[in-house]
Amino acid sequence: MSRIKAIVGLGSCGIAAGAGKVYDKLNELIKTEKYKVSADKTSCIGMCYKEPLVEIIDNDKSYLYGGVTESILEEILEKHTKEHKPVEKYVVHSEYTETEEDVFWEGQVKIALRHCGIINPEVIEEYEAKGGYNALKKIAERKMSYDEVIEEILDSGLRGRGGGGFPTGLKWKFARQNESDEKYIICNADEGDPGAFMDRSLLEGDPHAVIEGMIIAAYAIGANSGVIYCRAEYPLAIVRLNIALQQARKKGYLGKNIMGIDGFNLDIYIKEGAGAFVCGEETALIASVEGERGMPRKRPPFPAASGLWKKPTNINNVETLANIPWIIDKGAEEYAKYGTEKSKGTKVFALTGKINRGGLVEVPMGMTIHDIVFKLGGGIQDGKKFKAVQLGGPSGGCIPASLDDTIVDYDSVNATGAIMGSGGMVVMDETTCMVDMARFFLDFTQKESCGKCTFCRVGTKRMLEILTRITEGEGKEGDIEKLEELSIQIKEGSLCGLGQTAPNPVLTTIKYFRHEYEAHIKEKRCPAKNCAKLLTYEIIPDMCTGCTVCAVNCPVDAIDGERKEIHFIRQDDCINCGMCFSKCNFNAIKVY
């Protein structure tokens, strides 16, 4: 073995950024014996904004490189193999050099993501070497009863990370209480919130942590069968889960009399979703696993009493489960050291949108939104002004910049009208139109409503129509009130969480950005300059060189002017497409 090891981050995000090519190049360089190094792969470490990432371990010193292309890879290998020194300008993280990116890590505590981007997720021994399956061994060796396991989880204060925030230990207790010869544990890996990818990263980066969490949950509630319900859009996660399941079976972590615990039998299989947001809801998910249309049903009976195939069933989110082995291994007290009084531990957020450092962060509950956006996230792209963050996706809401001292814990976030959600945090700047955002989410929920409840099915459609009208300049006096009224009716008249929370994006934007709604309705103006129909494009005579580019590109020939003379847009014919604006090389077109 050579003393230098190069580890390429091959999560979906890394691959999309070109990490596959870098990995191929690395293997080629090794094969042709240009460099004496060894190659390995890992998954996403969270610095998605610096993908492709390559970690070099040189004499036990680790350097993480970002933005690595094939040629940069060669440059790095050259330096390490010849001088055993890093190429500092590309280093994004290392104990041995300071980098501009160090703030990204300050304040992060990795519990759920403890192995992501560190181990090779396709090699079970790497998980074991980091203490993986120790929690399960601990249960077997100390002969912990299921009550003790449940007690430990209750003491840790862990709450469901899928959005609801229900105490996990309590949920297990209910499932345990219902006697049955067949019980199910289901891992909810549907990750429906568009704009969130915590669960994908976990499944791709550390599938065994989720599986071990499921095994422990199964032991606690007495389940003998497990299902992972995974989005079909996550092919890599499914591949890695399948590999991990096979390895776990081979090593006896799954199967009969697991770890020598008499009568503890469990197998887990994967069920691929088929693209329906509502299937993230527990009862809809169960219907979908049973091969039906994924329609929610009335609760009670809760799944803990009557779930999959009418048997007691416990459903937990991916991130919830990934925390479990850590808690059992290190103890509830250790976990509860982090967080706030009512929200213990850490939470993973997918930081996206107009942010400089987009990626995955795991922070202790209680950190302020300001710190997440400006410290870890490095602030807003292109020096623009921070306007709001969206938490909780289609079920959540916007928290405005003025409330950025809000801390992330379940109660503080709820107090703003948003919800903690599963961890999607989309950052918006001054160019994001809040009415358009509300329209975007209603468009989503309207399409995804299963159609069972009238208010959810028709009400969201009505709201979408009104919002679309407003963004197209056809808003009327009284529209805001109508939206509020519909919101209340939809919340009250819907059976499941989808309908009950669908109005949240509208309500929170009205609450904090009412002036934007009013500008659209009364002044026919979009303050964020986003809504095409409300914009006016005009040529600034002093700047125009008469190059004709705009006139040539205008799809409706609304621009007049001779070559080398000042051009002019006929407002009556202009369709506000913005083509001229994007084509003019002389900044001679203004928009207002």
Binding site: F197, G275, R293
Partner: protein, 176 residues
């Protein structure tokens, strides 16, 4: 519930008799016969084979596995994944999740519509591309994102989008 799909069913009826090799389906049906809760995997497998769920496959699944045709339609039209029309060789999925929306995914779809001369959900005349919108590909930090086949492309711009299409077209030409 996607209303658009009802129109697709109508289309389907009109083009009855599209020729497919139904034998390809038999091993799949054999595998799942008598297994409870296997309808969705069966349909997913069918779509893997044909790229969509052809009418003949509906009839075959109904006959061999004993599902009512109406409940098959019910399930197929409920889930966004299932298609009732043949698709092009390359399926382009443009992400319209929140992060991509904020980073102007609309523009990417417009560019593709323009370049390929199709609307959202349609297939090009040469049957090379089908353009679709999806809700989030899980690569949000690289928004705007699209996926063609198994390949994901991030941080799209007008230029890079056009270039990707051009390259696929060129490599297809070379194959001919």
């Amino acid at each position: 519930m996607r209303v658009k799909r009802i129109e697709q069913i109508r289309d389907l009826k009109q083009q009855a008799g599209d020729e497919i090799n139904i034998e390809l389906l038999q091993p799949l049906l054999e595998k799942y016969k008598g297994k409870k809760g296997s309808l969705i995997p069966v349909l997913q497998g069918t779509q893997d084979i044909y790229g969509y769920i052809p009418e003949q496959a509906f009839l075959e699944i109904s006959k061999k596995l004993g599902y009512k045709l109406s409940s098959l339609y019910g399930v197929v039209t409920f889930y966004a994944q299932f298609r009732l029309n043949p698709v092009g060789k390359h399926i382009i999925k443009v992400c319209h999740g929140t992060a991509c929306h904020v980073q102007n995914a609309k523009k990417i779809t417009e560019i593709l519509q323009d370049t390929l001369k199709v609307s959202d959900g349609e297939t090009t005349e040469d049957k090379l591309f089908t353009l679709e919108s999806v809700a989030c590909l899980g690569c949000c930090s690289l928004a705007p994102v699209m996926m063609i086949g198994d390949e994901t492309y991030g941080k799209l711009t007008e230029k890079s989008t056009k270039k990707i299409i051009r390259e696929i077209k060129n490599s297809e030409k070379q194959k001919k």
